[in-house]
Symmetry: C2
Subunit: 214 residues, 2 copies
């Protein structure tokens, strides 16, 4: 059984930034406004954080609906997990997602700073200091035959792309410019030498870029 | 828990026919050439009948990948199940799909002609003579909280649309004209008074029409 490594619903600005500058506890995406960046996803029926009924069931919903489909583990960078940098001062910070994180699988957080695993509902965060190939091996074992999601941020996705470990990417490009921050690419076509590439404009205003290995 | 009734991956020609004229055992889609109509789906990695590895993982694959997602039962017309019309002469015909049908759920076949239920691997076909609302109730009970797929053909989908029982539709329009056969619509815009409607052209040449209730 092939276990893919998949980027799903990763959002960047039209100039290729996954988050703005000066990320902080108050501004998880730095100077980027998440309400604008992610409005396409929040409008869908299948958005994992949706609490009220309703929501759209068109193209964008196919993207959010696929978020958990056959996914058995996630890998994320430390900067997706936390706004703090350097050694952990304590273990009070438990991620952005409250008591019920939307992952429902093991999550491997890449960090140079050791920390005990953390269980919140049906999500368990493991903190690992290792190279991408090693972390991917750990995540695949934990995924029990299912695929592995690569959750970001941009620098973490770049690491795995540089190691040629990514099988598919779905990146939603929002029609806003950030001018600076955490960069995924200068242009999506940078990946065309290694990946097939469907470009799918959505009525919501974002453009979905879908890549899979050549 | 809402249990949707969903049309998924239903294919029509550019002039709105789901199958051609003169359906027979040798020509399940009548004068329509299934190789041309469905080539977009067969090229994807997630096509349920795929036996060889590989396949595309772009936009079209999101559509085929969603086929079994949270589906607990299917409803189909008798003309999808069988090329024969009128009373069953015997029970030798067991559908088009061999010993391992791709449904993996209960399937409710709408027919005026009674016949015992038929189990093939993890698919069980039930033959029911009832109106759409009654059949949908039966399928929802069998689906155990999951959604119900409305599998076609075109006349069966029309019956459920006329009874206003359909929640979402995905119809793939292939760039070929049939000129006659089993008609779903004259134009997709016929549904716009009751449904939101995303129109999504695919690089493969088909156009995906995605509808959900207003």
């Amino acid at each position: 059984m092939v276990q893919l490594l998949k980027v799903q619903n990763f959002n960047v600005s039209s100039d290729g930034f996954g988050a703005g500058e000066n990320q902080s506890r108050e501004r998880p995406f730095g100077h980027a406004d998440p309400a604008t960046m992610f409005s396409w996803a929040g409008a869908t029926a299948s958005w994992p954080n949706r609490t009220d009924p309703g929501g759209s069931r068109g193209l964008d919903d196919y993207m959010t609906r696929d978020f958990a489909n056959n996914i058995g583990a996630e890998i994320m960078g430390r900067n997706k997990f936390s706004p703090y940098r350097g050694p952990w001062e304590n273990h009070d910070w438990q991620g952005w997602w409250g008591e019920q994180p939307p992952f429902h699988t093991p999550v491997f957080v890449m960090t140079h700073y050791q920390r005990p695993s953390l269980r919140l509902s049906d999500t368990t965060f493991h903190f690992v200091d290792a190279d991408p190939a090693t972390v991917l091996d750990q995540a695949r074992n934990a995924a029990q035959g299912k695929d592995v999601r690569l959750g970001g941020g941009a620098a973490t996705i770049r690491q795995f792309l540089d190691a040629d470990l990514v099988d598919t990417l779905h990146v939603a490009v929002s029609p806003i410019e950030l001018g600076g921050g955490s960069r995924l690419w200068c242009a999506p076509e940078e990946l065309d030498d290694r990946f097939h590439h469907d470009i799918v404009p959505s009525p919501s205003g974002v453009t979905h870029h879908l890549f899979w290995r050549r």
